[in-house]
């Protein structure tokens, strides 16, 4: 299983490439410009939900970007929560 980290906006090729490889049982951490993929009631957030992966967003990054209406399927975590995920997932792929 792969822990994906996305640090690019939902219109980027990074996002596109990430979607190509993500699968059920994976997790994705949205950070930096990736937090815009967490906005509730968007096509992008629906696409992410459909992957079956566990969805997370770095709370500070979302706050800095003004992303407050976070999709219910996305959990807010701090950096410590991010570290916890890396303990569980043996592989990380950085998309940016």
């Amino acid at each position: 299983m792969i822990l994906h980290t996305l640090n690019a906006s939902p219109s980027s090729s990074a996002f596109e490439d990430c979607l190509k490889t993500i699968a059920e049982g994976d997790a994705i951490v949205l950070m930096g410009d990736g937090v815009y993929a967490a906005i509730a009631h968007t096509e992008v957030s629906r696409v992410l939900e459909d992957t079956g992966a566990a969805l997370y967003v770095i709370a500070d990054d979302a706050m800095a970007a003004g992303v407050l209406n976070i999709s219910a399927a996305v959990s807010s975590i701090d950096i410590s929560g991010f570290v916890v995920l890396t303990e569980t997932f043996p592989l990380q792929q950085a998309w940016y």
């Binding site: 640090n7 500070d60 410590s80 991010f82 570290v83 303990e87 990380q92 940016y96």
Partner: protein, 130 residues
């Protein structure tokens, strides 16, 4: 577990370089070891000793300093990327006939072999880019 970090992000765009520093702190707080933080490409700019920021903006330097000084984490910068970005220690300044060093002494100029050594001897390699 043993972790190594690869930082490709510039400290001057986005939050990623600072996220990497915060991540390294949390890794240690949770009882793991950070074998090495390796800076490559624009990531090497984290070592810029003479970077001047607005007074009311935080820089990542103090986070890296704490990691290096309090936790003994090795901060290695890729020599080829560093030289290209104008980041030189005293040895490289002399060798390349430049007037003075430009990196903070927290950072160590290294070959990519140190990245290989880091990932080969770590349970986790976490990459920070963008």
């Amino acid at each position: 577990m043993i972790y190594s970090l690869l930082v490709l992000s510039s400290p001057f765009s986005g939050h990623c370089s600072r996220t990497a520093a915060a991540f390294a702190h949390c890794v240690i707080t949770r009882g793991h070891t950070v074998r090495r933080v390796f800076f490559l490409d624009a990531g090497t700019l984290a070592s810029a000793a003479n970077s001047v920021s607005a007074q009311d903006e935080d820089t990542s330097m103090k986070d890296w300093a704490e990691l290096a000084n309090q936790h003994g984490v090795e901060l290695a910068i890729c020599i080829t990327s560093a030289l290209k970005h104008g980041m030189l220690d005293q040895v490289e300044a002399d060798r390349n006939e430049r007037p003075f060093p430009t990196i903070d002494s927290l950072f160590m100029m290294s070959g990519l072999g140190q990245l290989v050594d880091a990932y080969a001897n770590s349970d986790r390699l976490i990459t920070f880019g963008g």
